[in-house]
Amino acid sequence: MNKVIAASAIGRKFGNTRALENVSFDISESEIFGFIGPDGAGKTTLFRIITTLLLPDEGKMTIMGLDCRTGYRQLRKNIGYMPGRFSLYPDLSVEENLNFYATVFGTTVKENYDLIYDIYSHIEPFKKRLAGKLSGGMKQKLALSCALIHKPGLLVLDEPTTGVDAVSRSEFWVMLKKLRQHNITIVVSTPYMDEAMKCDRVALIQRGRLLSINQPEKIREEFGRKLFSVTAPEKFKLINALRSFPGIRTAYPFGDSVHVTFKEDEFDDSIYKHLDRMGVINARITETKAGIEDSFLELMQKE
């Protein structure tokens, strides 16, 4: 398999802050590779290194066979980049934005229309509208069209779904999947843990370091423990009661339930009695499968 990006031991500092530390990964052709992590984890810094906007202090990265330090001129012709804020000109219309980016990359909208058709057709009815007047979801689609217009080999999307409504988010992932048939490799970052499942492989990133790289399903399996979901109407009381139970290893609120693991990794049914004694009523416990977020929490704990 062809490596589109090969990074080994990448490090980058800003003053005294370490933004990235010993980051290594490989990304294969036509893969959708996700970097999942909270704000400030180093995703944007990493993406700026991939797009040749920043140089790493340490380590080596080759992108499409070229070195990220020396090959930047060549690379910049073949990378499509969508930064965290959608890089559109609000005072230009949808059409003008697209045409502008096409010219800048030395191509025309016509030439690669088939590539962007699936995305651009959603917003084409509004092509005379100023980009500043579009909704978040439409801006996102236009920005993606602009990033794709020169048929790049590598598409780098920095938090493309942040600040976009749920409907547009789910549409967006469908579009990305479709791009695979054009042999475009996609690197994407997101703070939404649930979006990890839509990637072929993900890297969990936290404080500038990669916690794990794997297929999303495998990352869930990496959790490696029995996980139980506990619900009760009085959540605050429930959490405190769970934590005071000696056999409990971890107890974290998780949506409308609390996810717990046991020290012995086996369900200890004396917990019911304990909860009862602590005044927690109507507690229900069921075994559940770990999600990406559970694995992320577990990996953060180990750090």
Partner: protein, 273 residues
């Protein structure tokens, strides 16, 4: 409008049918011919964590401004913390707290200066401010950070502090705007535990967000679309009703693309996926 099914108990365990802190009856807000809020009806109870969801432009912000006394309804009755939003907005402002993700603390002031400032704004006595500041810093294990500038704090700490400051004057209701968007999973959980604790003290927590996973943590959620409330229930009930695994799925099933986006309507009649 979805039928209101009120869960019998909230995080406090207090029966929720008593003790309403927000009552909204037939709320309409118009801007010229544009109807931003179209006949809203709901109640929020003491100690409840209430999620207020909707896409951008659904009318969330307009409703929120009315509830926090910043704007007056065109018609309908809105009671917040016992005061009428039309007649006594100033009283409402004294009895609520507010925290939003983007702006809440001054970056160029220290932690302690920020706390003192907010205490002063809410008219607390100097003695009370000092007392609560000390307590607040202690509870957050923040004593060593007291003299640091806000700008130098990590995001997670900033948000926890912002929340503590927003409830420092013991308001009846605290409004939170996307409180945990973008924070790491551990901090996020610590944050929700703070919210649970606050609710358990009897303070109502009103969360507006478009992060659907934040909605999962709420006692009840309402979903707005095109100025109307189209669903209002506990997350569990909504998931059951719409046969969905997550609130996100519920949301996608409910929120159709707006008529301003006919292209999307034709392309993906069901929102796809």
């Amino acid at each position: 409008m979805a039928k209101q099914t009120v869960s019998e108990t909230g995080s406090t365990g207090v029966p929720l049918t008593s003790n309403t802190v927000i009552t909204v009856r037939n709320l309409v807000k118009k801007f010229g011919n544009f109807i931003a809020n179209d006949n809203l009806n709901f109640e929020v109870f003491r100690g409840e964590i209430f999620g207020f969801l909707g896409a951008n432009g659904a009318g969330k912000t307009t409703a929120l401004r009315i509830l926090s006394g910043l704007s007056s309804p065109t018609s309908g009755k809105v009671m917040v913390a016992g005061y009428d939003a039309k007649k006594e907005p100033e009283q409402i402002k004294k009895n609520i707290g507010y925290m939003c993700q983007k702006f809440s603390l001054y970056n160029d002031l220290t932690v302690r200066e920020n706390i003192m400032l907010y205490g002063g704004i809410y008219g607390m006595s100097k003695k009370l401010i000092l007392e609560r500041t000390a307590k607040l810093l202690e509870r957050l294990q923040f004593e060593e950070y007291g003299g640091r500038l806000i700008a130098d704090l990590p995001l997670g700490l900033k948000q926890k502090l912002a929340f503590s400051v927003a409830v420092m004057h013991e308001p009846k209701i605290v409004f939170l705007d996307e409180p945990t968007g973008g924070v790491d999973p551990i901090t996020r959980r610590q944050f929700w535990e703070m919210i649970y604790e606050t609710a358990a003290r009897g303070i109502t927590v009103f969360v507006t967000t478009h992060y659907m996973d934040e909605a999962e943590y709420c006692d009840r959620i309402s979903i707005m679309n095109e100025g109307r409330i189209v669903a209002l229930d506990t997350p569990a009930n909504l998931k059951k009703q719409y046969n969905a695994d997550s609130v996100e799925e519920v949301f996608i099933k409910i929120a159709r693309p707006s008529p301003a986006d006919p292209g999307m309507l034709q392309k993906n009649p069901k929102g796809n996926n």
